[in-house]
Symmetry: C2
Subunit: 147 residues, 2 copies
DNA sequence: AAGGGTGGTTGCAATATAAAACCTAGTTCG
DNA sequence: CGAACTAGGTTTTATATTGCAACCACCCTT
């Protein structure tokens, strides 16, 4: 998939996932899935990427257990790609990416998409890292241990 | 940087950041910076990537305002790469990636790196998305509006 | 059974990536 | 002060990935 020797053996939990989702398109495909896409054609239409690339990515994501390929729920003979729990576990990451994008990539005039609570219609809270006892943690307040 | 027509014009705040950090190495470089690396050689040693690739990535990250290139703090004539606020804003994203990696890519026997609170030494809390009024939100509880 | 939509695969050309050799300016040390 | 060594890259050159376009098979409708 990726040229460089994979990070399967890298003990860091940041590095290893990149085998699965470290490329340009995978995250966008997953985001699309969170917004309701399930079929090959939907992804292709929404993202506008070449079909062979999409096929490769989806194969990879299925192989990594992020999607499963299941018979279409609507009864037709086609298949659909549905997120596994592992795939759904990427939701916070997508939200983090989105919030960062909103912070630093928004043009003032152009109105942008926002993520809102379906119940109230209000924007969601900002993601933030807290300690075990609830203090807000900045990068410097943390260390990586054990590696 | 990336072949495909860039996502600068994609209104989705998930897509646009990928120009800046959507490739394999950039996130690892940024993670390394959070752990204290500042000099070219440090990054290269820790990550083990080719020097031309590292140079390209760092240039790109500087161009996107994620790092600045500053004279070395220790007085030597060399430069160092230091994270801007925008770069530091990626901390939650890195944490999200790390937590996902810990959840789904850990081998049971092999002890893995963990992110802990520097003060208490205890693992940090899990990132979670909450609504304006504090309810825990699952993917289905949210919608993207305004696009 | 014919025509169109769905879900891909297979060439090929263009592009990005990786490894290694090379280069230049700072630093160290005798 | 000059030689050797280090940091921080740039330049080749080979290889892998990407993207487009054409093709194909299957399902579904009429």
């Amino acid at each position: 998939m990726v040229k460089r020797t994979s990070h399967k053996d890298d003990p860091c939990p940041v590095a290893r996932p990149l085998d699965a989702i470290g490329d340009w398109w995978s995250l966008l495909i997953i985001r699309d899935a969170f917004e309701g896409s399930r079929r090959f054609g939907e992804f292709q239409k929404n993202l506008g990427l070449a079909k062979n690339i999409l096929a490769t990515r989806l194969r990879n994501l299925v192989a990594h257990g992020i999607f499963t390929l299941e018979p279409c729920a609507d009864g037709s003979a086609y298949n659909e790609y549905v997120l596994t729990d592992k795939g759904r576990g990427l939701f916070p990451l997508l939200v983090a990416l989105r919030q960062w994008g909103e912070d630093y990539f928004s043009d003032a005039y152009e109105p942008r998409a926002r993520l809102v609570d379906r119940q109230t219609g209000k924007p969601v809270r900002r993601l933030e890292l807290r300690s075990d006892d609830g203090r807000l943690l900045k990068p410097e307040d943390t260390v990586v241990v054990g590696h």
